[in-house]
C-alpha cells in the first residue's frame, strides 16, 4: 500500500510537469501559473475555506466510487445518483420549509442518502440478477436522472430562471454562519463534517466489519466468495446501494451546502471527478480524502490563476486528467521503480562483495 501511495505521488508530479509543459507550450509562464494556482486555493482563510468546500462533494463522490470498486463494481453513475439524491433533498427542503433547522436538515441528509441508494439499487439489481454490466446501466440511469430533474424542477420548484430551482432558505441548508465567519466569509459548510464522518464510517465498514470483509471477498474473486458461502448477489446490490447513497450525500452537500439551488440541464461533473478521486486515492477512504482535497485545491485555485494570467482555467482539468492517465498506467511507473530499485540493489551487492574480497 505504501508503494501505491508513492505511485500516486509520482502520478501527481508527472501530471503537474505535463501541465507545466502545456502552459509553456501555449506561451505562458508555468511557474507564475502554478504560483497563482496554489495561491488561489490557499492564500487566505477564505480561499482555504473555499478549497475545503470544493473538496467536500468530491470526498463523498470519491468514496462512492471507491466503495463500489472494492466489490469489483464500477459505479460510473455517481453523477446521476448525486443529481437524484440532491433533488430529493431539495424537494424535502422546499416542501417542509416551516420545520426547524434541527429537524429538516437531518431529514434532507437521510432522504438524499436513500434517494441515491435507490438510484443505484436498479443497476445493482440488474447486475446481480441479469448480469447487466453496471457501466452501461449506470450511464442509462444518469440520463434518466438528467431528464427527470430537467422536467420536474421547473414543474414543481421553478426558481428565478428557467434553469434552476427555487432558493433553499438558509434554515434548510448545511450553511453554518460561525464556520463561514471563521473562514473569512467562505462558503464552507457543515457538509465537510458529513464527509469527514463518512470517511471514518466507510473506513470502519471496509476494514473492521464482516460486511466489509464479504464485499472485498466478492471484489477479489466472485467464485471463491460464492464457494465460501457469501451471497454474491446480496453483496453486489448492497455495495451499489451504499455507493449510491454516498453519491446522494455528495448531491446534498453540493446542492444544499455549497449551493442552495439545483441546476437543470447538466450532469454534475463532480460525479465523474469522483472516479478520478477514487483512483488517485487508491480506493481507500483516507486516500480519497486527501486526493479530494488536492483536486479541490486545483479547482478552487484555477479561477484565480486564469484571472491573473492568460492561462485558461481548464488547465486544472487537464492536469487532473493526465494524473489519472498516469495512475491508470501505473504499471509503467512500477517498472521504472523496480528497474532503479534493482540497479541500486545490484550496486549495493557489488560494493559489498568488493568489500568482502578486500577483507580476504
Amino acid at each position: 500500500m505504501k508503494k501505491d501511495g508513492f505511485i500516486s505521488l509520482i502520478a501527481i508530479l508527472l501530471g503537474l510537469i505535463a501541465g507545466a509543459i502545456l502552459i509553456a507550450a501555449t506561451g505562458n509562464d508555468p511557474i507564475e501559473g502554478f504560483t497563482y494556482l496554489f495561491q488561489g486555493g490557499l492564500q487566505n482563510a477564505e480561499r482555504i475555506g473555499n478549497t475545503l468546500a470544493t473538496a467536500t462533494p468530491l470526498i463523498l463522490a470519491g468514496l462512492s466510487v471507491a466503495f463500489a470498486f472494492r466489490t469489483g463494481l464500477f459505479n460510473i453513475g455517481a453523477a446521476g445518483q448525486m443529481l437524484f439524491g440532491g433533488f430529493c433533498a431539495t424537494a424535502v427542503g422546499l416542501t417542509l420549509v416551516d420545520l426547524p433547522s434541527i429537524v429538516i436538515v437531518p431529514l434532507m441528509v437521510i432522504v438524499g442518502f436513500l434517494a441515491g441508494a435507490l438510484w443505484a439499487f436498479i443497476p445493482g439489481l440488474l447486475k446481480a440478477k441479469f448480469n447487466v454490466h453496471e457501466v452501461v446501466s449506470t450511464i442509462m440511469m444518469n440520463w434518466i436522472a438528467y431528464w427527470t430533474i430537467y422536467y420536474l424542477v421547473p414543474q414543481y420548484f421553478k426558481g428565478n430562471t428557467e434553469t434552476e430551482s427555487k432558493n433553499l432558505p438558509d434554515s434548510a441548508t448545511l450553511k453554518m454562519h460561525w464556520l463561514s465567519d471563521l473562514f473569512g466569509g467562505s462558503y464552507i459548510n457543515f457538509g465537510l463534517f458529513i464527509a469527514a464522518i463518512m470517511v471514518i464510517v466507510i473506513a470502519f465498514i471496509i476494514n473492521r466489519t464482516v460486511l466489509g470483509y464479504e464485499l472485498k471477498a466478492v471484489g477479489y474473486n466472485r467464485s471463491a466468495a460464492e464457494y465460501a458461502g457469501i451471497s454474491v448477489n446480496r453483496n453486489v446490490i448492497l455495495s451499489m446501494m451504499i455507493s449510491g447513497g454516498l453519491a446522494g450525500l455528495a448531491g446534498v452537500v453540493q446542492f444544499a451546502g455549497n449551493a442552495s439551488t439545483i441546476q437543470i440541464g447538466i450532469l454534475p461533473s463532480v460525479g465523474f471527478d469522483g472516479i478520478a478521486v477514487a483512483l488517485l486515492g487508491m480506493n481507500t477512504p483516507i486516500g480519497v480524502f486527501f486526493s479530494a482535497i488536492f483536486f479541490g485545491l486545483l479547482y478552487s485555485g484555477k479561477g484565480f490563476m486564469s484571472a491573473m494570467t492568460a492561462i485558461p482555467p481548464e488547465i486544472a482539468d487537464v492536469i487532473i486528467a493526465i494524473i489519472i492517465y498516469f495512475a491508470a498506467t501505473s504499471v509503467l511507473i512500477k517498472k521504472v521503480m523496480d528497474y532503479f530499485g534493482k540497479k541500486r540493489k545490484y550496486r549495493k551487492e557489488a560494493v559489498e562483495s568488493n568489500v568482502g574480497e578486500k577483507v580476504k
Partner: protein, 315 residues
C-alpha cells in the same frame, strides 16, 4: 406519413454519427479491447475538424472540399489519440475502463484548453455541410422522400463504411483474426497471429471512426465545437451492446436511438405526440435500452475475452 417524412431527415442526421462511433467500438471490442473512451475520441475529432475547417474557411469561404479535409483530419486525430488507450491497455495491461475514462477526461479538458487559447470562448464555429437531394433516386415515391431528399453526403459515406466493415469483419482474413483475438487470443497467438498488432489496429480503427463521428456532428447538425458531445459516445457503447456486437444489429440499435430521440425532441410541435408527457418520450430510449440489456443478458454475444489484457505466458 407526412410527419414521418418531416422528421426522418433529422432522425438520420442524429443516427449517423452514433452509427459510425458504435462501429468503431465494434472493431475495438471485437479485438478484445473495451474502449469507453469513444466519447473523448469524438471530442478530439470534433476539435480537430473544427480547427481545420474554421482556419480553411477564412481563406476559402464556401468551398465544399474544406469540409472533407476537416473530416480527414478528424479521422487522423482520432486515430492518433486512440494510441494512448491502445498503449495503456495493450502494452501496460492497464484496466481498460479506467484508461478509457482517462481518455475521456484528457480529451474534454485538453481540447477546451487549446480552443480557449485560440478563440477565447472555447467554442469554435464553422459553416456546416449543405443537405442535398440525390439525383434520380430522390424521385422514387416514399423511399426517395425518406432517404434521398435532404440528405447529407456524410450519411452515404457512413453507410458505405458500414457495408465495407461488415465485409471486412466476416469475409476477410483480417476480420477473422480480429474476431479470434477477441474470443480466444491464446489460440490466435498459437496460430501465429500477432495479438498485440491486431488489437492495436482494432483500437486505432475505433479512434478513427469516433473522430469521424465527432466531426460529422460538427459539420451536420451542431455547427459549433463546444468541448462535449453530450454523452453520445456512451450511447454508442450502449448501442454496440444493444446491437449484440453485430454491424446490422448496431445499425438497428442506432436507428432506434435516432428516431426515439428525434421524436422526443419534436414532440411538442406534432399534435399526435404532444399529448404524451415530454418526460416519458425523453426517457423512452434509455429505459428501452435497460430492458433490452436485461433481455439480451441471457444470450450475450459479447466477445469472450473483451476487457481482458493479453499476456503471452499466461494460460
Amino acid at each position: 406519413m407526412d410527419t414521418i417524412i418531416q422528421i426522418f431527415p433529422y432522425a438520420i442526421a442524429y443516427t449517423i454519427p452514433l452509427l459510425i462511433v458504435a462501429l468503431g467500438g465494434l472493431f475495438s471490442e471485437r479485438s478484445g479491447v473495451v474502449n469507453i473512451g469513444l466519447e473523448g475520441l469524438m471530442v478530439v475529432g470534433g476539435f480537430a475538424s473544427a480547427l481545420t475547417i474554421s482556419k480553411l474557411q477564412e481563406t476559402n469561404p464556401g468551398e465544399a472540399w474544406v469540409i472533407w479535409v476537416g473530416l480527414l483530419v478528424a479521422v487522423l486525430a482520432g486515430a492518433l489519440f486512440s494510441l494512448l488507450h491502445a498503449f495503456a491497455s495493450i502494452n501496460l495491461n492497464a484496466d481498460q475502463v479506467i484508461s478509457g475514462i482517462a481518455i475521456n477526461m484528457i480529451a474534454g479538458a485538453l481540447t477546451i484548453f487549446l480552443a480557449r487559447n485560440l478563440t477565447g470562448s472555447g467554442n469554435i464555429r464553422v459553416n456546416g455541410m449543405d443537405r442535398g437531394d440525390v439525383r434520380f433516386l430522390s424521385d422514387i415515391p416514399i423511399i426517395g422522400d425518406l432517404f434521398f431528399k435532404n440528405a447529407y453526403a456524410t450519411t452515404w459515406l457512413v453507410l458505405l463504411i458500414l457495408i465495407v466493415s461488415t465485409f471486412i469483419i466476416y469475409k476477410t482474413r483480417f476480420g477473422l483474426r480480429l474476431r479470434a483475438c477477441g474470443e480466444y487470443p491464446q489460440a490466435a497467438d498459437a496460430a501465429g497471429i500477432n495479438v498485440y498488432r491486431i488489437r492495436y489496429l482494432g483500437v486505432i480503427i475505433s479512434g478513427a471512426f469516433s473522430g469521424l463521428g465527432g466531426a460529422i456532428i460538427l459539420v451536420t447538425y451542431s455547427g459549433e465545437f463546444t468541448g462535449s458531445v453530450a454523452g453520445l459516445g456512451f450511447l454508442a457503447i450502449a448501442a454496440l451492446i444493444f446491437g449484440q456486437w453485430k454491424p446490422l444489429g448496431i445499425l438497428a440499435a442506432t436507428l432506434f436511438f435516432g428516431v426515439a430521440t428525434t421524436v422526443a425532441n419534436v414532440s411538442q410541435v406534432i399534435p399526435s405526440l404532444a399529448q404524451i408527457p415530454p418526460l416519458a418520450l425523453k426517457l423512452f430510449p434509455y429505459v428501452v435500452t435497460l430492458i433490452a440489456l436485461v433481455i439480451f443478458s441471457k444470450s450475450s454475444q459479447a466477445p469472450k475475452s473483451v476487457g481482458v489484457a493479453y499476456e503471452k505466458g499466461k494460460r
